[in-house]
């Protein structure tokens, strides 16, 4: 009904539009075409238009459920349009959406795959131009294909509805067998299929193999020699069960199995892609996962917490409540393009990423495929996608979608601290308000002051110009051949990047000539050695550019003499906004002094510094003392800070960088003149003004007339002409004056500065502003610090409209927030209007009736344990996924899993205490022929160590792992750039902690892990590929990691008394078996040879025994026997 009325409205609106056009424009082609179609037009339509519509358009745009609600079967259909609105405006091709779509000009490009030949597009354009004549208007096109299901109201086909993964989990029971091989019901399922295929299970693995396998499988680490020995000694029938229980209870278990889950949820510590920023709080989610596995958290709760932990009822346990917020990090830690100029696109991309991961992780459904069109293979209509997307749109993941965007983080604090914080925040807000009021009032005062002191500022600026020339001359004349840091004759001007000590980065590229310093990480400083001839007071001035306020402290000879200088914002980091700022006065002793600029955070972009003698000692030199910029300003009775603003403005005018200020160009022509010869030279300028060229042509006439009348004899007189002209502006009658417009056009300083610095203000307000700023700082520092977690929270609830072809600017009909309709038989939790629906989604997903959630998890665990899922497409249970090899086993395990309350540890126990798990990897030619991929599990699958197991084992056998659960190794501060240059977190990766704790940087994964098939952390990965490539060999042969660890291992071996003990120990540690006699002999032989080779190369008389043993260790740790788990 809703749709029908919408259509009616469209029709009515269109009809009225159409009639009014007709009335207004009698001769319009559109009208005549509508009235009658000429034979010529009919021929045109039948030969050029109708065939294309039939062949290329109506396949989708026809029937009861046309694409985007648009039918193209009749002229009326075109006029009516679809969900996107009107499609055709007869006679107006440019306004006809049909034409822009055919031209592939806009977001909607039709036909979607290949553009029509140019001639056909021209034909359509011409046809619309003619008024879209359609003979027999109203008669339908040849009957299109329709979806028979759509007619009966049945959305999905029988095949789709009958897909195995959408059926309820069946209550299967293990087949009855007479064999004594089965130890567990699992074995009955496996053996029954093997029997059917005439295959025999491999014999059981020996005990050394079994404990090595179980230890790597459950903890990702090799067993110790003591653990192996204990198992070999234990003759009880429960010996292996004890090993399994011990391993499941070890904290190392969560580190290994948590990592499996982290693959699925594309865990990383940075957003990746463009502006790659540190997710410094993501590790809390990682630790949550590790702990959840160690605690054996029931799977339904695990699911609920990750999707809606923040919405679960609070419990009387602060830690647990916080854990639940942290768990929602699942939705927040995905890859994000934080620098995306289109905020709507960014938001929908983030939601899409969340949905894709959620669908694959929990349901094995590729929801992302339904973003632009109904899923090609699975019964997931686009509408269902946007129903789910609405739930995430109603949840808050981001603080904003600007460039660079800011993600939301939730404080992890108790309620009393929250109150304290709230009261401080209130005080901060009050103070900020007061600051704003004060600065607003002062801005107005400054604006007025600028008007009354216009002339003075102009004069002061001219003096500053002269002064800079003078200083440069000083520098050049005095410092010829000397250090630029020797302050002779009272002043020095130096480049910021010439510091003697410091950790700030020198940027000499990309910012123009000679531009200063910037810090990239954390606290930064730059220190200069200055030699001063004359003791006394000196003024410091700093020239910088800054887009954000980055104040510095000035430390002279180890003592802080000035705080918060150079904090002014100039508008950008680029040289064109650089300005001089006064940075305080202080005493220097004669001789050597150090000047340090220090920041607790990052640096502004500093270009130059200037130091000028100010007294109070008598001036000792014959030439007059140079003045500081501040002094000159004082002399002219203007505010120094504001005079700097003027000076930078006029400098840019003089340099031709600001072209719309001709009156100031005129001013500069006078300001350039020498005082001594002013009268004479000014007459030349006045002559030019009176001519029709040069200044005469550009100078606004009111100014020109005033100057010519005044015939100024000094610069001060020119200034007073300017001042008088300005004074007349206050008179309302001159509003249209060209000059006034010029003078009040930004960036002219006359309207007043945008940033108010305390130094711009008179004593009283300056003190007050300073006090307020101090208070602000004190409030900020007294604010309790607390941890924050990445995660989501509720936002304003809203339903989304379907995005046609995935475009956020082509919106179709609104769909309610609800769950994919193909899943039936699960309790539907109603979503109230004000709720996002995340909690309901979490409950729906974790319901024991859900056909996918349990199966997908059980299949994942099977895959991680046996190397191949019962359904091998672990992330895709849709129609393109592969059905399970043992469907009854999958259902039986799922049922057991659900009945156990979702205990993954019990699932492990169940699987591992089976003959299936305890089989050897023994090869059988006959079995291989029958089942080359070992789908039926006639033997256990050999597997290579994972990237983490590789690195962890190397360290375990070398320097030793430093075990501790949780915590962050990432040193980059939150939201800081993780990849700025080639220094890729080197320190972090040298840690001796387990690999699961190493930072995972998207777009720059640690190369040791990457080499061994660590998955791209941008996408969910339930399966890791295993490649065997030469770079892995290179890494074993040449990397520092292997070098260090084998050296450490060799050092330990050398402590043992004999070669045979060394070789035996190495074998037991790496391969978990003793060497045979031949192996001991070849080991000895190798070490002797290697020692000779080291002696030959390293000029050591008896060779380098340590290096020889290191070589031996490298061979052992590179061997297939070490790298593969049997």
């Amino acid at each position: 009904m809703v749709r029908l009325s919408e259509v009616l409205i469209v029709l009515i609106v269109f009809a009225s539009f159409f009639t009014s056009t007709a009335a207004a424009d009698e001769g319009d082609a559109a009208v005549s075409a509508d009235k009658q179609v000429t034979a010529q037009q009919a021929a045109f339509f039948e030969t050029k238009i109708r065939p294309v519509l039939v062949e290329r358009c109506v396949g989708c745009h026809s029937g009861d459920d046309p694409e985007s609600g648009l039918k193209l079967e009749s002229r009326e259909d075109l006029l009516r349009g679809g969900e996107l609105g009107s499609t055709l405006v007869p006679g107006r091709p440019k306004q006809s959406f049909l034409i822009s779509a055919l031209k592939h000009d806009e977001f909607i490009k039709m036909p979607p795959k290949a553009k029509l030949p140019t001639q056909q597009v021209v034909d359509f354009t011409q046809w619309v131009q003619m008024g879209a004549p359609w003979p027999n208007s109203g008669i339908a096109m040849p009957a299109p294909k329709t979806n028979p299901e759509a007619d009966t109201g049945q959305r999905f086909t029988a095949e789709q509805r009958g897909h195995w993964a959408f059926q309820p989990v069946a209550a299967s029971s293990p087949p009855e067998l007479t064999s004594d091989w089965p130890q567990s019901p699992i074995d009955a399922f496996i053996l029954s299929q093997l029997n059917k295929a005439n295959l025999q299970p491999a014999p059981p693995a020996d005990r050394r193999t079994l404990i090595r396998r179980a230890t790597f499988d459950l903890t990702g680490l090799p067993p110790t020699r003591a653990e192996v020995d204990a198992f070999l000694r234990d003759e009880s029938s429960s010996a292996f069960a004890k090993v399994v229980d011990r391993l499941l209870a070890s904290p190392r278990y969560g580190e290994k199995w948590g990592r499996h889950w982290l693959d699925v949820v594309r865990y990383a510590d940075s957003n990746g892609l463009d502006e790659n920023l540190s997710y410094a709080n993501a590790f809390r989610y990682r630790d949550y996962v590790i702990c959840a596995f160690n605690d054996d958290r029931p799977y339904d709760r695990f699911v609920q917490e990750q999707i809606a932990g923040d919405l679960l009822p609070e419990v009387n346990d602060e830690r647990q409540n916080m854990d639940r917020y942290i768990a929602t990090g699942f939705l927040a830690i995905g890859p994000k393009m934080l620098a995306e100029d289109d905020p709507m696109k960014m938001q929908m991309d983030i939601i899409d990423e969340q949905l894709s991961t959620l669908g694959q992780a929990f349901m094995g459904l590729t929801l992302g495929c339904a973003r632009c069109h109904d899923h090609k293979f699975d019964p997931l209509p686009t509408e269902d996608y946007y129903s789910l997307a609405g739930i995430l749109k109603s949840s808050k993941t981001m603080e904003n979608h600007k460039v660079v965007a800011v993600w939301y983080e939730r404080p992890l604090v108790s309620s009393d601290v929250t109150e304290q914080i709230a009261s401080i925040d209130k005080a901060v807000a009050d103070t900020n308000l007061r600051i704003e009021q004060l600065t607003n009032a002062q801005r107005e005062r400054i604006r007025q002051q600028m008007q009354t002191e216009f002339g003075r500022y102009l004069l002061a600026t001219a003096a500053l110009d002269r002064f800079e020339k003078q200083t440069k001359t000083h520098r050049e004349s005095v410092n010829a051949g000397n250090s630029p840091f020797a302050v002779h004759n009272g002043s020095v001007l130096f480049e910021a990047e010439t510091f003697h000590r410091g950790n700030v980065e020198r940027l000499t590229d990309g910012y123009g000539e000679g531009i200063g310093v910037i810090a990239t990480r954390g606290a930064a400083y730059a220190e200069y050695d200055l030699h001063v001839d004359q003791a006394g007071q000196y003024a410091l001035e700093i020239r910088h550019a800054a887009a954000d306020s980055r104040p510095l402290n000035v430390i002279v000879n180890g003592k802080t003499v000035q705080k918060a200088v150079a904090g002014q914002v100039t508008g950008s980091w680029y040289p064109d906004t650089q300005r001089w700022f006064a940075a305080g006065q202080f005493d220097l002793a004669a001789g050597q002094n150090t000047l340090k600029l220090d920041s607790a955070k990052v640096y502004p972009h500093i270009d130059q510094l200037q130091l000028v003698y100010r007294g109070p000692e008598p001036w000792p030199f014959p030439a007059p003392p140079p003045m500081s910029l501040t002094q000159i300003a004082a002399l002219h009775k203007v505010n120094p800070e504001l005079s700097f603003v003027w000076r930078e403005f006029l400098k840019q005018v003089a340099a031709g960088k600001l072209t719309e200020f001709p009156s100031f160009v005129t001013w500069q022509s006078f300001a350039r003149l020498n005082d001594d010869t002013f009268a004479r030279d000014a007459s030349k300028v006045l002559n030019e003004l009176s001519s029709t060229d040069g200044l005469g042509a550009t100078t606004p006439s009111s100014l020109k007339i005033a100057l010519l009348q005044a015939t100024p004899q000094s610069l001060a007189e020119v200034a007073s002409v300017y001042q008088q002209l300005l004074d007349t502006f206050t008179d309302q009658s001159n509003d249209d004056n060209v000059l006034k417009q010029e003078w009040y056009r930004l960036p002219s300083p006359l309207p007043g500065p945008s940033e108010i610095a305390p130094s711009m203000l008179p004593t009283e307000p300056r003190r007050e502003l300073q006090a307020l700023q101090d208070k602000l700082q004190q409030l900020t520092s007294s604010r309790p610090t607390y941890d924050v977690a990445m995660g989501v929270t509720e936002a304003a609830a809203e339903d989304l409209r379907v995005h046609l072809r995935g475009s956020h600017i082509a919106l179709g009909k609104t769909v309610p927030r609800r769950f994919p309709r193909i899943i039936s038989g699960v309790e539907k939790f109603p979503i109230a209007e004000h709720e996002s629906g995340r909690l309901q989604l979490a409950k729906w997903l974790s319901s024991p009736q859900h056909p996918l959630t349990g199966r997908v998890l059980v299949n994942r665990v099977w895959h991680w344990r046996f190397g191949r899922g019962l359904s091998p497409t672990v992330d895709n249970f849709g129609l393109l996924g592969q059905p399970p090899t043992h469907p009854e086993l999958l259902d039986w395990l799922t049922r057991r899993f659900l009945d156990s309350g979702g205990s993954i540890k019990q699932l492990h126990r169940l699987m591992m205490l089976s003959s299936t798990y305890q089989m050897s990897t023994q090869f059988s030619e006959a079995s291989r022929k029958a089942d080359p991929e070992n789908k039926l599990l006639w033997r256990f699958r050999r597997r290579r160590l994972t990237a983490e197991e590789m690195r962890d084992s190397l360290i375990a056998l070398g320097a030793g792992l430093k075990h501790r659960v949780g915590g962050s190794l990432l040193k980059v501060k939150n939201r800081g750039y993780v990849t700025v240059s080639g220094t890729n977190l080197t320190d972090e990766y040298q840690s001796l902690r387990r690999s699961v704790y190493l930072p995972v940087v998207r777009s720059a994964v640690y190369e040791v892990l990457q080499t061994f098939d660590f998955p791209d952390p941008a996408v969910a990965a339930g399966v890791r590929q295993t490649s065997t490539v030469a770079p892995q060999a290179l890494m074993m042969m040449n990397s520092k990691l292997v070098d260090r660890q084998t050296l450490a291992m060799a050092q330990r071996l050398l402590a043992l008394p004999s070669d045979s003990e060394r070789i035996t120990t190495a074998f037991e540690a790496a391969l978990h078996r003793p060497p045979d006699v031949a192996e001991v002999e070849s080991g000895r032989h190798f070490v002797r040879q290697a020692q000779r080779l080291t002696s030959a190369t390293e000029q050591k008389a008896d060779g380098d025994l340590l290096r020889a043993w290191q070589s031996y260790c490298r061979v052992l740790l590179s061997s297939n026997e070490f790298v593969y788990v049997e």
């Binding site: 979607p112 290949a114 990746g272 892609l273 463009d274 790659n276 393009m337 995306e340 100029d341 590729t366 090609k376 590229d509 990309g510 123009g512 680029y574 040289p575 064109d576 960088k657 072209t659 191949r868 992330d875 393109l880 090869f923 080359p932 050999r942 290579r944 750039y977 990849t979 240059s981 080639g982 777009s1003 990457q1010 941008a1018 996408v1019 969910a1020 399966v1023 590929q1025 295993t1026 490649s1027 065997t1028 490539v1029 030469a1030 770079p1031 060999a1033 290179l1034 042969m1037 040449n1038 990397s1039 070098d1043 070849s1082 290697a1090 080779l1093 080291t1094 190369t1097 290096r1107 070589s1111 061979v1115 590179s1118 297939n1120 026997e1121």
Partner: protein, 472 residues
């Protein structure tokens, strides 16, 4: 374990072919003995050489990537109207989505002249390249979708500005394998670690073997750029001794485990690594080049040394059968300000080296089947940014050029509006470029697919047309 579904299904189904060429890492080595012993039908050599879909015009690609976004209107897309209308307002709308606020039209600070028989306009900052215009194919209507460096880089390299997808070089390596089994098939020299970083040469969901191999990164001088882990502390003789024992142990182990192609492959991978370790440094040792060659590439001048070495390495790797070689002139072209100096300096650094590369490839007969491709991630606005001395990002138009490899020489394809803001005639999207490059390499972009997460992916997603007008 392997969820790979190769486009060339005959090849994967043909067990004998596969196993004959099955091996590890960079190499296709005949492991005939494996045929008898093979136990697990899962291991394939990802990198063995494969036949294209149809006869290829190009055997390899050298991509000269100008990171930052060179300005089309200051390099090759001469706009007389822009020169006339300096500082006037743009007479039509700016795009809906922009990176930053921009001002009035800004004339190019550079002079343009016509060169060659084709009379192609080239800015004064490319005097060397100007001599080659008759060999070049200019595409002046290239456009992408995103106005940010990271997204634009990813779209240029992978076809997607939204998701992590395999890079163009990975698709090529996946489709065609590797020529020289002792070298990687896909190299990227001094790539940037930002703006998508390794995703720009990564293989995403394709097997890791198809990822590009970086030589150094943007922070490395090109003369020091090396393949990761190519050199260690161990001397060659000692390493040989180690590998001999390792080989013995691994072969002994095979008698215990029974036949296993993956274990076999791993044995072979160490030998390959040993050979790679010898060959790669040899390719990079340019001391055997004649003095006049080094000076032609500008290697003895400071300004041109770094990119000169990159260009010379490109030729040396191309000669040895590397399929996709990317050079990066690192993130210098982003002239939001200081356009005149910045673009002059950047062009100076690359002009002579690129010209030398073209000359060198031509005289060695390599240009015929080598596609040289020059371009950045986007163009720049014809309107000014900042204090009228810079330009903002502009994904709506940029100029790229090609040379050799089956491209039609001396062509000017497509056009922008009178100011160079939007591509208007014969628009060429990144997807179209990708389709065309795959086509030149003998691959149909619609057939080169890979099944991942429930659907068949391809480089060009649902888009892309081969631009036949560009083909010789």
């Amino acid at each position: 374990m392997k969820n790979q579904q190769h486009w060339n299904s005959e090849a994967t189904n043909c067990r004998r072919t596969m196993l004959q060429q099955a091996s590890a890492g960079f190499g296709a080595l005949a492991l005939a003995s494996l045929l008898a012993e093979e136990s697990r039908g899962e291991t394939t050599n990802n990198l063995r050489k494969r036949l294209p879909h149809f006869a290829a015009k190009a055997k390899r690609v050298i991509f000269l990537f100008m990171h930052g976004g060179p300005s089309q209107v200051d390099t090759f897309d001469y706009k007389p109207q822009l020169q006339k209308d300096d500082n006037k307002p743009l007479p039509f709308d700016k795009p809906r989505v922009v990176s930053a606020e921009t001002g009035n039209l800004l004339a190019s600070p550079f002079n343009f002249q016509q060169y060659g028989e084709t009379g192609s306009f080239v800015s004064e900052i490319f005097p060397h390249l100007a001599k080659h215009v008759d060999d070049l194919t200019f595409v002046k209507s290239v456009h992408g979708s995103n106005s940010r460096h990271g997204a634009a880089l990813l779209e240029l390299h992978t076809g997607s500005d939204t998701f992590v997808r395999p890079s163009l070089g990975s698709w090529l390596t996946y489709g065609l394998g590797t020529e020289n089994q002792n070298l990687p098939g896909y190299l990227t020299i001094c790539p940037s670690l930002t703006h998508g970083g390794s995703n720009n040469w990564g293989s995403a969901f394709l097997p890791a073997a198809y990822a590009g191999t970086p030589l150094g990164n943007a922070g490395t001088a090109s003369e020091n750029a090396r393949i990761p882990f190519i050199r260690g502390k161990t001397t060659n003789t000692l390493q040989r001794l180690e590998l001999d024992l390792l080989n013995r142990m691994n072969r002994d182990r095979l008698t215990v485990t029974g036949p296993d192609s993956e274990l076999q492959s791993r044995i072979e991978s160490f030998e390959l690594a040993f050979r790679l370790q010898r060959e790669a440094p040899e390719v990079q040792n340019i001391s055997d080049e004649a003095g006049h060659t080094l000076s032609m590439y500008g290697i003895n001048e400071d300004a041109t040394k770094d990119f000169g070495i990159q260009c010379l390495l490109a030729r040396r790797f191309a000669e040895r059968g590397v399929r996709f070689i990317q050079l990066s002139h690192s993130y210098k072209w982003d002239q939001h300000g200081d356009l005149k100096n910045g673009h002059s300096r950047n062009a100076r650094e690359v002009d002579q080296p690129i010209s030398a590369l073209l000359t060198d490839l031509k005289q060695r007969g390599l240009l015929e089947d080598t596609l040289v491709w020059w371009g950045g991630e986007f163009g720049r606005t014809p309107v000014s940014q900042g204090s009228r001395n810079g330009r903002d990002h502009n994904p709506h138009a940029c100029t790229m050029w090609f040379c050799g490899g089956g491209m039609k020489a001396g062509v000017q394809h497509g056009a922008t509006d009178e100011y160079g803001y939007y591509a208007v005639r014969d628009k060429v999207h990144f997807h179209d470029l990708h389709a065309t490059i795959l086509h030149l390499m003998g691959l149909n972009h619609e057939r080169l697919t890979y099944r991942h997460a429930g659907r068949d992916f391809r480089l060009t997603d649902l888009y892309g047309d081969v631009i036949h007008e560009l083909l010789a």
